[in-house]
Symmetry: C2
Subunit: 236 residues, 2 copies
């Protein structure tokens, strides 16, 4: 990659490792935020939800750190084009994790609504969906750090499962709303939660696609992103 | 800013202008996509919706061009820290516009659902909300290109209006669902459309905040982002 001296290459690699370590740390926090937000939801635990909301600031702070380090790294090391692309990929990945953290926070913000409402049956699918999604985030970031194209490809496979979860939940919630107007408020909030999880899956997939391309030079096939079931559900 | 020779500074500024011109072009396409998606929705025009969906590829392509140009610019010009930050800001802004384009595409994807359903009363608020949001995107990008802190601050002011639109629409749609189960499917899709518009407003605000900070060195006060009305709506 870099055509400079061994010493400079070493220094650059060390900086890049530091960048990747920050991204791993961010990723770990984001995974935990997803798991905690969904657990708070399942247990109506508003204290845990508040901790997720507060904890998002730490994720945002690390993104700022990543950006500063990336700028310093480029300014000091003047990396060649391939290495620069690595740094840009790191910046983009940090941006994606920041968004994942936001989605987890959005889920946590809705916990208070469910704390006051009756149990809502379709809710039981959410922790399952969240587990798949959090695992995708973990694998995508492991693939990023290890530049593991195979692992990246497997992440994308899982996105279909998440879309199936989402479409199923979407239809179930609409039916649930139709059966009883008292379910409507909680179901509407749960729709958004399901959508947030589906979007997290999309973002993990975006990271995986970037890793795959970066490791192999080949794009994974174009895929259809994040559709709700477009077929209307009939009221009845 | 740059401490290199006048010639190099000039070349860098030209490259930066090219980068900003690409971002303006992207922004223009994204604004048009918002307006077209909402017009397609209001007129049940599935052809226009398809053109928005197809047109998003062009926005994605320009983001790739921005990234390539940014990498080339850094590699060739080796800009100093302040100029580097400008380039990073341009990269981030391009990323935000790409997301705005995705939201417009998501709105367009739902047009087909409404083409088959009965008119839904709260829909009339959506074009108003979209107009405010598209204007915010335009102003945020004008502020970015002109580094206009005052304009950036005004963009953020408007985000409150968008949040008010969203909260009003959220409550109206829930009530509408409760009144008649036949409204539920269309209302659920409209909820997501309202949320997409609200998110576009948030993203325009993020760009405005970045511009403000970049121009003044001071952060606009922390603001609360994108809450749905957290107070539950009672079924009645």
């Amino acid at each position: 990659m870099a055509t400079t001296t061994g010493h400079t290459v070493k220094a650059f690699d060390d900086d890049l490792d530091e960048l990747r370590a920050l991204i791993s740390q961010m990723g770990g926090l984001a995974e935990a935020a997803i798991a905690d937000a969904v657990q708070a939801l399942a247990r109506k635990d508003t204290d845990l939800a508040l901790r997720v909301i507060e904890g998002d600031k730490k994720i945002d702070q690390i993104e700022v750190d990543v950006e500063r380090l990336a700028v310093r790294l480029i300014a000091l090391r003047a990396p060649m084009a391939d290495d620069l692309r690595e740094v840009v990929a790191a910046l983009k990945t940090a941006g994606v994790i920041e968004r994942i953290g936001d989605y987890a926070k959005n889920i946590a913000k809705r916990v208070a609504i469910f704390a006051e409402s009756n149990p809502i049956a379709p809710m039981t699918i959410v922790p399952e969906m969240a587990r798949v999604v959090a695992q995708m985030v973990k694998s995508a970031l492991d693939a990023f750090v290890a530049r593991d194209a195979e692992l990246a490809a497997r992440v994308r496979e899982r996105d279909k499962t998440v879309d199936d979860f989402y479409n199923s939940l979407f239809r179930t919630l609409l039916t649930y709303m139709m059966e009883n107007p008292n379910n409507i408020t909680a179901s509407a909030h749960l729709l958004f939660i399901a959508k947030n999880l589906e979007r997290i899956g999309d973002h993990a997939t975006n990271v995986a696609e970037m890793v795959y391309y970066s490791a192999t030079g080949v794009y994974l096939d174009e895929r259809e992103k994040g559709g709700d079931s477009i077929t209307p559900v009939k009221a009845g």
